[in-house]
Structure formats: structure tokens, C-alpha cells
Amino acid sequence: MNFWGLLFLIITQFIAGRGILALLKIKLNPVQTFAVSMLSGVLTFSLIPMIIQLFYVPITKTNVFISLCVTSAVLGLVPIKNYDFKALKPGNIKFSMPYLYELLFMGLLVALIIPSAWRCFYFPVNARDVLSGPEALAEYAIKEHSISNSVFSVNLLESVPNLLKPPFVTDLQIIYKLFVHPFGSTWLIIVVISFLTFLYSILRERVHPVLTGFLMLFFMSIPEVYGYTYIVLWDYSNMIFFFLGIYFIYRYYDTKQFNIFLFCCLMFGFSTFIRLETIVFIGLIVPLMAFIMWKEKKTIPQIILNAALITGIPFMFYVVWVEIFVKYYLPLDLHVGTQIDFTPLTSYSEWIGRINAELVFGGLNIGLYGIFIYTFLAVLLIDAIFFRTFNKQAKFMLYCIGIIYFGLPILAYITPWFNITTAKRGLFKMFPSMILYMANSAMVMRLSQAIKKFEFPEVTQKNKVPKPATVHTVSTTGKKKKKKK
């Protein structure tokens, strides 16, 4: 493995991603800034080989290197006035040592990610969908300096869908094969670690570190999702960026900052670039977005503009790949219109039935998702029956979970390649929202407060507002009056 190549990519990805955050003036805490910068940087880099090819520039190591450096430099330097360099001064850097129970969980979570990191590095790509598509394209793109290469002249049989997927995996494999390691792959663990760091940080803002640790453990121990932390495919990354879009659109409603909305559109755009059908789920967010804006008495043109941006920006990613690159740069004749089928073999209700029977409540559900979904449902039921209160973010997450659950069967009408395996992976998009719901659930928040109260009773006492003291005064009439201080 070329360690210096890996370091080069980590640094340039961070600079590019940090630049995007600065351009849009996204303010996060240092941990979240680092994590989201890395994620944004990786996705930005995943566009570069495709963009190089759009300009008919050969994909060589030199050209890719120059492109990566220029991209990082431009994105990093353009918003230079927006960086808060004062935060880097030693006096301003605040670090508090985590408590022992937090260190326990941090150690445990690191121990759980080490096998994934090793497997990402040690083994070549293995998933059939990637071997018969992006991996073959990346390997020959390096030899023949073009994504449109001799792989398309081989008997394709059932490989066509994999060859026509957006080049998220292809491009990252090209970059990492050129600079790090013949197997590529190491970008996946960078994405995974950055996301888990971000998730930990946002959960930590809401609940006690012990509960944060347990929630993280629940998430990481979902068997199928854990497998995708070292199996190079699209779905884990797609889950991450869809969740980032959801998280930042919620932050937009909280803060009303339009720059955050634009960042959310970018995250949805990246998510669509990874899996094109994500645009269907983004479309299903529009009604909620419109409803919230209407309640806040926004004008119709503002609502339409936001709806246009949140669907239009992801749609641009779709257009560039399908209507430009596939049409004019790849030697295959594919028209998206022929894929839409309003009378699929299996109807919407039948698909919901199959998803419930085979994935959520039966079939392979325990082997795939462990006790995660059942735990979520138990927390939801307890909240609904005993506490009967859902905060704003909890309600928002429930809506987003519903979008995935009820939206998945719609894909059967859009693409002929929708099957139970697609649904199995599509459900991943619910899981981060489920975790964030649990962090906002009345039950978990009460438990968090109880633990804090037990841990620091004197702080809890001090924070209590004291009852006003009663003072007796003598009135001019001679009667005593009670006066509250």
C-alpha cells in the first residue's frame, strides 16, 4: 500500500470538503466539521474522473493528480475569508477528557471497526455487481485511459445495469488504484469512519454518552449493514448521504438559514449520484417541506423555489450521468423512458407484503438486521403509549422513515431491476433516521436525564429554579401583608 498516496488523498479530500462547508458557511462543531468535510471531499473526488472524461482528457495518473490538486486548491482557497482561523489558536482549542464509560464505548466502537478497515485493505472487491461493472471499468480505465473502454466490447449478458450505474464506485476505484493500492477499496473505510464519527457527535448532543454508546452499538451491530462497511457497493454510501440530506434539511427548518438548505440539496445530489433512484425518495420529502414552509407562512414562490432546488440539484447529477455521459460517451444504447413501467409484474401492495414478510417481520429479517428494527418499534410503542409526546426532530425522523418504507415499492414502477435484494439494501436508508429518532424519543431522553441526575445530583440541584421566599410586611392599615421577593 502506498501510504503517502493515501495521506495525499486524505488531506486533499479534507481540503476540498472543508472548502465546500466554508463556501456555504456551514458552522458545525470541530468533530462534525472534520467528518462532514471528509465525506464531502470523497464525494467531490468521485466526480473527477467522470468530469475529466467529459472534457475528453485521458484518465492518466498525471491528469488525475493535477485534477485532484486543482479541485482541492480551488475549493479550499475560494472561501478563504470564511474560515475561522481563530478557532485554531491554542487558547481557543477546548478539549475535555471523556469519562471512563465514554472511553469504554469509544474503545469498543474502534475495536468493531478494525476488522472492517483490515478487510477493506486486505481483500480485493468481491461483490458480483461491482466486479461485473465498476471494478472492471476502473481496471480498464487505468489501462486504456478511458471509462468508455474495451469492457463494453465483451459479452455483457446481465452486466448491463451494473455498467450503467453512475461512476461513484468506478471513479473512486480509479483514484485509489492509481494512488494507494491495486485493490482500491480503502475509500470505503474513510467514508464509514467519517460517518460514524458524525453520527456519534450528533447523538452525543442529545443524550448521555452511555446511551450514545449503546445507540451506536445498536447501529453498528446490524449484521447486514456492518457487512457493507467492508464490501464495496453503493448502498452504505447512499445511506450516509441520504441521511446527511435529511439531517441538514431538518437543521434548515430549525435555523431558517438558506445556506444550510443548499448544503442539504448538495447532500441529496451526492446521494442521487450514488444511486439514481434516490431521487424518488427526495421527491417524497417535498410534501413535508412544503407543509412546514406553509405553516411558517412562506410565500408560494419561496415554496416552489425550494421544491425546485431540492429536486433539481439531485436531478442535475442524474442528467449529467444518464442524458450526457451514458448517451454520448458510452457505446451502449439506453433510453430511460423504456425503463418506466406502470404495470410491473408485482404490484405496490404485493411488494409491501413481500418486504414485510421477507425482510422486516419475517424471512431473513433477524439474519439481516438483527434486533434493530424490533428495538426501534419497541421504543416507538413505548413513546406512543406511555409518554405520548414526540419532539419536532422525532416527528421529522418518523416521516423520513415512512418515506423509505412506503416509497421503496414505487421503485418497481421506475426500474425493471427492482427486486427483493434492492429492497433489502434500500431499507438501509431508514436506519440512521431510526437511530436519530431513538435519540429524540421521550423514553430515551428521560432515561438520559435520569442518568445525568444520578451522576451529578449537585449540578441538577443547582439548576433547579428556587421557590420565591415569602416576606411579611406591615401595611399602613396595621394588617400584615405577605410579599413575595
Binding site: L100, L104, W118, S132, V151, V154
Partner: protein, 155 residues
Amino acid sequence: MNFRQIIILLITCFVLVIFFNIPVEKAWLENRILVFNKNLIEEKEHMDLEDRRVMRWASSYTAMVTISEYIKKNQSEDVKVLVPPKEYYTKRMPGLILPEPVIAYYFTGLRTTTKDCEDVYEAKGCIIYRGDKFEYQPLANKEEVIKVLEAYEKN
């Protein structure tokens, strides 16, 4: 650290033990995490890239490499090879998996065709079972391709 935090730590450890004794979580821990320690020792002894390819891709890869090396030694490299259908080769060698054409091309640069492909009659060689092993057999013309396809069909 105060004694209440120690109590929280102890309770956390206890709950973690319970968590990892839930059957499905225990299975996950044993099959995905703890197995890593056992595999790591063997894997560290096989750091060569080719060894790692063989470990990951197994017979699917080794079969294609063997065929490809034979062809490079004895034939023109630009040969389209007819590979047998799954029923044919798994009957004779149960653990064998021959990859689809795109993956075969990715593994070795060898172009393959199957009975379902449009270019099957352009095959200049085939894989056929003779005696007690699979062999590579050159094909001169369309009639020979048809004979091989019939042999595959007879299974």
C-alpha cells in the same frame, strides 16, 4: 471520577455483557468480529496480492487464470473461449464456479462466450471435460462449435 460514575461504568459493562449474550448479537460478534482475530494470523502470512486474490475469488479466479495461461502459451492471445454452462461443470467439479464474461475479462483479459451469447459461433476454443479433467480444445469452425454445444446439452 466520582463513585456514581464508577457505578454507571459497572452497570454499562453488565448491560454490554447481556447485549452480547443475546443470541443474534452473539452470533454477529463471533462470526464477524472475533473470527477476525483467527483469520488475521493466516492473512498476515499471505500478503502477496496474488495470494489475496486467490483467497477472495477462489476457483472462479484460479480456473480462469489457468485457462488464460494455457492459451497464452499455446494459442493466440486474442481467442474467444466457449465456456460450459453451470449445470455441465458443477456436475463434474462441484466446487467450481466459472465467472460470467465481464468478470472473466476483468480477471485475465480473456474473452469468453457462452451458449446464450450472440457471438457463440465466433469461439475459437472451448472448455470441455475429457477423461477426468477439464481441457482446452481449439475450435476450427462453426460445425465444431455446434458439436461442443451439443455435448454440453447432453450433459
